[in-house]
């Protein structure tokens, strides 16, 4: 596990900046572990019994839990400190990135042109970034994925890479690739005869979860798209530095310019919950258009509310209300199987998996999970803490 970026685009914090960053990883651990567990104890000991006395029943969903808990000081301190911690994570890395901005842009350009790998990158100066990205600082990241401070700028890619490294407390693994590594290993073992020739990662940001798919299927041609020009430029340089060929494009997953039936595998990670409901439906239809018959669409995401109990639904939906993730709850309220069916995928071709984190549980646990799928989420599924399991769903075409 690493807390800091360690590849060719790494930036060097001063000792004081590094101490602020280290502190923020510890602070987030305190908020998400100690305060979160304390809030649950207060809920179960005081808030839920009070609700039951008044209503003669338990809260039926996350909204009722939220309503009952929001007046409690424990909820207020948890929420206030979590919001502050989120912003402080990014503020802790911004001075380091800002000081390194010119050098980063030069290094990224050199890596993009290098022959370390044969990947490519395309950005479009006339591209219209959707308002769901251009009008908000998603998860309180100043500048989001699209702000450009200079020509051919990669700054926001570095902000995301370094910010998420501090934010994730090591749970995203070395190179922030645990999601892609865990799920690609699972798919290889679940479907040993599946050999995709062309792979597409939708909403790839800096390609940290694209690279594991290119490594898992080295003969495949791998493409990755995102609406943010700085993140695809940075992602390309990052993949080149790792010696992994990936073709990055500034494109919107709702309507790409790829040909019909041109991909065998379409993947996304932590993407759909940042897309408005109408957009998600378009993304699924687009994925179906792009998939070859027999191809697989697979999205790693937070588990849907229908899989979770009332408290866990409240806990995960917190981000939608308070963490500048407005599309998070509408997405989690959707029925994954119904969304796939609406896009034209056959109901009996629907798949969903809960996969142990490769970094935390090891290869054997990931491989063993192929035969241990119950279809039921537990309180480790999608919850950002020790022992995390990744949820993914999709459909075969």
């Amino acid at each position: 596990m690493t807390k800091y970026v360690n590849h060719a685009l790494k930036v060097e914090p001063t000792p004081e900046e590094a101490a602020r960053q280290t502190f923020m990883s510890s602070m987030r651990m305190y908020v998400l572990h100690d305060l979160a567990n304390g809030m649950r104890t207060v809920y179960e000991s005081e808030v839920e019994p009070k609700f039951e006395r008044k209503n003669k029943r338990a809260p039926k969903d996350g909204v009722e839990v939220h309503r009952a808990l929001k007046k409690d000081p424990t909820f207020k301190f948890y929420s206030s400190m979590r919001c502050n911690a989120q912003e402080m994570v990014f503020r802790s890395i911004l001075p380091t990135v800002e000081r390194s901005q010119d050098a980063l842009n030069k290094k990224a350009k050199a890596l993009s042109r290098s022959k370390k790998a044969n990947g490519t990158v395309e950005t479009d100066p006339k591209f219209k970034v959707p308002r769901s990205v251009s009008a908000i600082d998603v998860h309180r990241m100043p500048g989001n994925y699209d702000t450009e401070y200079a020509p051919d700028d990669v700054t926001q890619g570095a902000v995301y890479d370094n910010g998420i490294s501090v934010f994730s407390m090591g749970f995203f693994g070395k190179n922030l690739d645990d999601i892609g590594s865990s799920i690609s290993m699972f798919i290889q073992n679940k479907y040993p005869k599946f050999a995709p020739e062309r792979i597409l990662d939708m909403g790839c940001t800096i390609g940290h979860n694209t690279v594991p798919w290119a490594k898992a299927y080295p003969k495949a041609e791998v493409h990755a798209i995102d609406v943010g020009a700085p993140v695809v430029r940075y992602g390309h340089a990052r993949a080149q530095a790792a010696g992994v060929p990936v073709h990055f494009h500034q494109q919107n997953a709702e309507a790409t310019d790829f040909e019909d039936e041109s991909f065998d595998l379409i993947f996304s990670s932590m993407f759909l919950h940042e897309v408005p409901k109408k957009g998600i439906k378009k993304v699924f239809k687009e994925a179906r258009r792009l998939l070859k018959p027999g191809g697989l669409m697979l999205h790693m995401e937070l588990p849907p509310n229908k899989m979770l109990g009332a408290y866990d639904s409240f806990y995960l939906d917190w981000d939608s209300y308070y963490n500048k993730e407005p599309f998070y709850k509408p997405f989690r309220d959707m029925d994954p199987q119904a969304v796939c069916a609406d896009a034209g995928f056959a109901k009996n071709k629907f798949v969903q998996y809960i996969i142990p984190s490769l970094g935390q549980y090891g290869e054997k646990a990931v491989k063993d999970s192929v035969k241990k799928q119950t279809g039921k989420a537990d309180d480790q599924t999608g919850r950002f803490a020790a022992g995390i399991h990744w949820y993914c769903f999709g459909a075969w075409k």
Partner: protein, 115 residues
């Protein structure tokens, strides 16, 4: 705040949009933010002191440059990370106390009624 020179477009440090508030009493949200920033800065000082102590133990004498270049060993780093968790727990002890207070003895003698 920005570290950019006068000729450069500074990076934006603030988050766009109306901020979320949780406490009805005026100023409490700001006090939480200020407390957290203070805790962070205090941790910076503690790390710096640890660096001084690490060097002092190693060399008996040191220069500012030596301090600036000092790197913790993996063992020292792991110890500091563990200590930062304990440090956070001390600073925000009042929040844990409420949770642990739920286990209080119901027969605990009550204090005199306030006048």
């Amino acid at each position: 705040m920005s570290t950019a020179g006068a000729d450069k477009k500074p990076l934006r440090y603030s988050v766009r949009g109306k901020d979320t508030r949780f406490f009805s009493a005026e100023g409490v949200d700001e006090l939480v933010a200020i407390s957290m920033a203070l805790a962070q800065e205090l941790w910076v000082v503690k790390e710096r002191l640890a660096a001084y102590e690490g060097l002092a133990a190693k060399k008996k004498v040191f220069t500012a440059k030596e301090i600036e270049n000092f790197k913790f060993t993996p063992a020292q780093r792991a110890k500091l990370d563990a200590e930062s968790q304990a440090f956070i727990d001390r600073v925000f002890f009042t929040l844990r106390e409420r949770v642990e207070g739920l286990a209080a003895d119901p027969d605990e003698p009550a204090p005199p009624k306030e006048p």
